[in-house]
């Protein structure tokens, strides 16, 4: 096993900027990846995430900044010299070559003897669970099988980096869920450092060690799936990953205490918003599954009165839309079906809800926007 001392700098991007004419696709973006880490780049379409992947691969050249792999500056190297394996969204399997020939494609012409190549292809077919399917042409394989051939082909040359560009988006939902797990397992078994681009938050949350959220060419948040979900850095991240309720026009009373209309809400884990002056207007946020229905202990803090406006049945859960006052957008609450039945909740019914102080987030309100127009709290 190679030593682990330089792992923190296995892959490093420094101040990467990419412009296409007047359009800036990536803006001073920096991050690093440890050896063996699985990083997911997540963002809406057009945010620049695929450009970022192609840049790491060497398929595009950055306008500014540098890319380092294992401490070596590869910024000017073409893709062929970077030793990366790539799986594209379309897989880009050669339709006229069978699975074996596809996998062996990069091995041929490197002075390896035929037996060695055959052996290596067998290993790879085993690895992706396609033993015995080598003679099939891509069109004769299912989508999931094609995906695995593409993965085997990308791994054939034991790349330093595995780059996956929306690898699962062309598959149907069930196969997608199954392959998520398989890819993650494979990646952990081989220990290959992997960067995956996706627009699917669930994919990112379930597979990655770390998620980079990108919006409009900027890195918005870099963190573990839990951090991203539980402590989204901006309202954008909050809304992009999972569902989030925003409560506007909250006025800061003091640290840890905000007022909405006549209600006072106490908040812990306030981080950045501590800098907010008393009397400033802020936006509070809470995920629907964190909204608690209360029938007793109504004297506890952070209790609001509401009325059920609409009920949406979702199988295991109900999504309730709750009216919390004339000047507020309704709150969405995710309530287990069992609880709804037990409490006999029905439309128009008044309901007391609690917003747990440790699940509430505070963002600066719209007038405290960052320069780029996105809401952010760090400038406070």
């Amino acid at each position: 096993m190679p030593s682990m001392q330089n792992d923190a700098a296995y892959l490093r991007l420094l101040d990467i900027t990419k412009r296409f004419g007047a359009f800036t696709a990536l803006d001073k973006l920096s991050f690093g990846a440890d050896r063996g880490e699985f990083i997911s780049i997540l963002g809406p379409s057009g945010c620049g995430k695929t450009t970022l992947l192609r840049l790491i691969a060497g398929l595009e050249t950055q306008s500014e900044g540098r890319v380092e792999i294992q401490g070596r500056d590869v910024s000017k190297l073409p893709v062929s010299a970077r030793n990366v394996g790539i799986v594209f969204q379309s897989y880009a399997l050669f339709p006229n070559l069978n699975a074996r020939d596809n996998i062996a494609y990069g091995l041929v012409g490197r002075g390896l003897d035929k037996n060695r190549i055959r052996q290596r292809v067998d290993e790879l077919l085993d690895l992706v669970g396609l033993r015995g399917m080598g003679r099939q042409f891509p069109a004769q394989l299912s989508g999931g099988q094609q995906q695995r051939v593409a993965l085997a082909r990308a791994m054939a040359l034991s790349p330093d980096l595995l780059l996956l560009d929306e690898p699962l988006s062309a598959l149907d939902a069930k196969v997608r869920v199954m392959l998520r797990g398989e890819i993650r397992q494979l990646q952990q078994r081989l220990g290959v450092t992997t960067i995956m681009v996706t627009h699917d938050q669930e994919e990112a949350l379930t597979m990655a060690d770390r998620i980079l959220v990108i919006n409009q060419g900027r890195l918005v948040q870099n963190g573990t799936p839990r951090e991203i979900y539980d402590r989204p850095a901006t309202p954008f991240v909050a809304a992009f990953i999972g569902a989030m309720n925003f409560i506007e026009n909250a006025v800061k009373v003091e640290n840890g205490c905000y007022r909405i209309g006549s209600h006072h809400l106490s908040i812990s884990g306030e981080n950045g918003s501590r800098n907010l002056a008393s009397g400033a207007v802020a936006t509070l946020a809470i995920r629907p599954e964190d909204v608690m229905i209360r029938v007793d202990e109504l004297e506890m803090p952070n209790i609001l009165a509401s009325r059920v406006e609409q009920m949406e049945y979702r199988g295991a859960n109900f999504r309730l839309r709750l009216n919390i006052g004339p000047n507020q957008r309704p709150l969405e609450a995710e309530v287990p079906a069992e609880k709804v039945r037990r409490l006999n909740i029905s439309p128009s019914m008044p309901l007391a809800i609690q917003l747990p102080h440790d699940r509430l987030r505070v963002y600066a309100s719209a007038k405290h926007r960052c320069n780029d127009g996105s809401l952010c709290e760090n400038t406070l």
């Binding site: 006229n96 070559l97 069978n98 020939d101």
Partner: protein
Amino acid sequence: MITAFKPSKIAVAVLLALALAVVPSVGMAGDLLVYTALEDDEIPRYLALLKQSHPEINVKIVRDSTGIVTAKLLAEKDNPQADVVWGTAATSLMLCTQAGMVEPYAPKGLERVRPKMRDKAAVPAWVGIKAWMTGFCVNTVEAKALNLPVPTGFADLTNSLYKGHLTMSNPSSSGTGFLTVSAILQLMGEEKGWDYLDRLHENMAVYTHSGSKPCKLAGAGEYPIGISFAYRGFMQKQKGEPVLTVFPKEGSGWDVEANCLIKKAAVKPEARAFLDWAISEPVMKEYAKVYPVTAYATNVPIPEGFPADPEAQLIKNDFDWAAKNRARILAEWSRRYDAKSEPKSK
């Protein structure tokens, strides 16, 4: 892999085989490139004679109508391809001489050539082999069907009876067309000549590009009467077409088919040998079998169908005048007759 690609390999192999089979044949160094406007059906007879007497000369013949041969020669002025020109209108060769692309040469036997059938210079730029003359080709079957009397001379052709039944070649592109127009202008004088041509134009169905086409159109019955040249009519009759050749009673326009040597950095000796042969007695006799007027008299009897004294049939032709005025005549002709675009048959 290999089995998966059999059809493409076959296709590639076929393409390769094709490619190899089509490697262009490279001309041999000893080849003599001869440009000629002689008729396609007479050349083989002459070349058979050449093969007998000069087996060492390997000729490559480029045959085209007078206008095209002339155009080719002039187009290649800076980088001449042909070695010699054989049997092409003297008026055209004069243009080449003016362009400075002719190497004067006195072939063996020059002294026998009639003075009016060669360039006047002591070492002539061009030397004639035979004269070809205007003749009307008349389709007797069609003429009968249309109740057209057989015309006897130029004067008859302007009769409105013939309206839409006449063709002749465009003098700009055809040597035959030019000699006919030039003959009319010389016979009648310019003023009357143009007046005559105006009236002839009224009857004309179409002006063709090549000089032999009017005769062939007559032979095919497309247009019963074509102003062409004598040889054509006789040949077509032999093929079985109902064509009668008429020599206009006013006399025929004519031109000399002549040879010349093309100026090149290295003139091949075969070129001079060829020019010597081209006026030698055996081939002259062969010319005489179908053309009654040759560069010098042979004892070959006059071909059937020609007047008894073919030389008397030829008008007095001033080549110098024709060559000098060629451009002017053609411009005037174009101005008068080219502009009418609709066919007269309508």
